[in-house]
Symmetry: C2
Subunit: 377 residues, 2 copies
């Protein structure tokens, strides 16, 4: 779906909810609707969507970039330079002018879950009725179109190269961060050879040894792998914004039989999840099916997270594959399948792959081998 079609869909929703203007704040949502993505920290960027126009407010240092990338009708720039102090110097200067066109009582759309409270209070002072449009954009983003799937597939392939390269260097004495860096470097070399002027990035987290692997989410450290370590290596790679997640648990040196059994169990739970996921099934059925594998083996109490999350432009996207989510899955949704078990004194075990739902089932865009024979170093 092109940006224009997305806008059309979004505007139908605005009509239905009688929303006159939507203020889109969340960077991934803005990218989704306008094609413009900036590195944003302290300078707000706002996309405004009304029934007949789209407007963008950007800081001066994004002016050239936004002109090149943003599919919007009008652009307003604010400045941070003394000789331009007679112009607008804050996004609020522009926003206030634009909002004054709307009378008190107007229905204005905002993303309740990401718009900061201070902006909410500012909007309230205009006397507007504030309506959540964030859930709608999230819902639209769940179904990926062909172009998005193409980007996701490239990200998946690149993540396989990276994992494969890091694993070639798995050995006692290498640090988590060094381990990550081998895959990072090869990934960027391959991407630079295969793709011209594209944006690529990645994130890694490696948790090695019993103590650290028991914690599912940790930043990689300078800790060095030791003999008998289980290591949970997590990687996301993005290609022009679209992300694939690829995680493998592996052993360095000689694991115990018990540890091998736990990895096999996590692999089995993942297989169950990957086999069952398809359009028509509910999110919770997928989660519970994998959980039962752990439970049956007596490890249910050591499961501390859902089986997976949506994926696309953001690191985690709704909706989630969680035990209490009745959502019926659809073709075009993208999910990580990553059941994990974390046993005190025995470590953590989790693979993650990224699957795309097709008409009849699903396929994985991440392909590094999952079986234990390929994961002993």
């Amino acid at each position: 779906m092109k940006a224009a079609n997305r806008l059309e869909g979004f505007r139908s929703y605005m009509d239905e909810k009688q929303v006159e203007l939507s203020l889109v704040w969340e960077p991934d949502n803005q990218y989704y609707l306008s094609g413009f993505r900036a590195i944003t920290y302290s300078r707000p960027i706002v996309t405004l969507i009304s029934r007949d126009s789209t407007e963008l407010i950007v800081p001066g240092l994004e002016e050239v970039h936004a002109k090149e990338k943003a599919a919007v009708d009008r652009m307003y720039v604010y400045y941070e330079q003394i000789d331009k102090s007679h112009k607008e110097t804050s996004y609020l200067d522009h926003l206030t002018k634009l909002l004054k066109k709307y009378p008190s009582g107007s229905r204005i759309g905002i993303e309740m879950d990401s718009l900061p409270s201070s902006v909410y209070i500012y909007l309230k002072e205009f006397g507007f009725q504030l309506i959540d449009i964030g859930r709608k954009i999230i819902e639209m983003r769940t179904i990926k179109d062909e172009k998005e799937i193409e980007l996701l597939k490239i990200a998946g392939k690149l993540s396989d190269y990276a994992i494969s390269e890091s694993l070639k260097h798995a050995r006692v004495g290498i640090s988590e961060l060094e381990f990550d860096s081998y895959g990072d470097k090869l990934l960027l070399e391959i991407a630079s050879k295969q793709y011209a002027e594209e944006l690529i990035g990645y994130e890694n987290w490696t948790c090695s040894g019993v103590t650290r692997s028991e914690m599912p989410h940790l930043y990689s450290s300078t800790r060095k792998f030791e003999d008998g370590d289980m290591v949970v290596h997590s990687r996301q790679v993005w290609f022009n914004g679209y992300r694939a997640e690829n995680e493998r648990t592996f052993f360095v040196g000689t694991p115990t039989e018990k540890q091998k059994d736990l990895l096999k169990l996590a692999i089995e739970a993942q297989q169950v999840g990957m086999e069952i996921i398809r359009p028509g099934i509910t999110a919770k059925e997928v989660d519970i099916a994998a959980y039962k594998v752990f439970k049956k083996a007596g490890y249910g109490e050591f499961v501390n997270h859902r089986i997976g999350h949506g994926l696309g432009l953001s690191e985690h996207e709704e909706p989630y594959l969680r035990f209490d989510n009745d959502l019926v899955l659809q073709e075009g949704m993208v999910y990580t399948i990553e059941p994990g078990v974390y046993v005190p004194g025995l470590g953590g075990y989790r693979h993650s792959d990224t699957v795309i739902l097709t008409k009849d089932g699903s396929y994985s865009i991440t392909q590094y081998p999952r079986d234990i024979e390929h994961l002993m170093f």
Copy 2:
């Protein structure tokens, strides 16, 4: 300042503002006050600070991690596992119970600039008076203590290694991303040798050639360096959370005299900024001093950002060195000094260094040579 002293200072402020409970949402603020930092996407973590206790709400997958790291009095865990569905399954389950102790009308502290609107609305429904405590935490964070400065210095040193290594590989035909990756890899190798079990990370942005370097903030791409390119390479390295920023503009192949003059101008503006910054001067004086260098040379109109931002736990921290900021600078503040000029058809030019304000002046924790002779490849 240790976490305990920080809490003491923060509680004095709460007393002064008659705030009974503060709800801290922003991850860097939580880390600053509790010592606990998680990789957080879709599962909220909340720190609650009252006059006599500190409480933390975490998802199940952070339970072990939080027990290890968080300096709080009590911890509440929420679960996403069907066999724990009789317990709390959302952060709101805990938060609601904890907030019910406070009668309608209680003064509750929140970070207005980061708390999502949906949480603000939820808190309003309790009948609370909501008071901004975010500005106070930002203010506390501006003055770095000895321990923080020690971490910043390490980050600065690591960033120098990285920039130096990337620049060794600067040549026509290498992509922006490959260029970045040399520095990344060496950085992680050196850090792994020198530091045991520490957390280290980095972010890079490289903009090469006339068109891309004119845009100050872009993600690195697979574009390959060409003869005559100016390249703006930006890097932040963090060590246990604390960040140094280190940026250099350099040439690949043969630049024109005009391009060399523009880089010299940016270097001169930076020198002026680095020489003038000290306690007692205002933020705006530093910005304007550097701006005047560009203006005098006839390039004032091509300046599109302030001279620098605060630095520490976040990529950008307030307060900013901006033309309209009357803040008087103090010892212990940390700033980037990064005046830039972006001329259509001639490219962008900007160095950035990270300086720490001392009693009498300042020093830079990033040291890679700034002169043009070291920046021609």
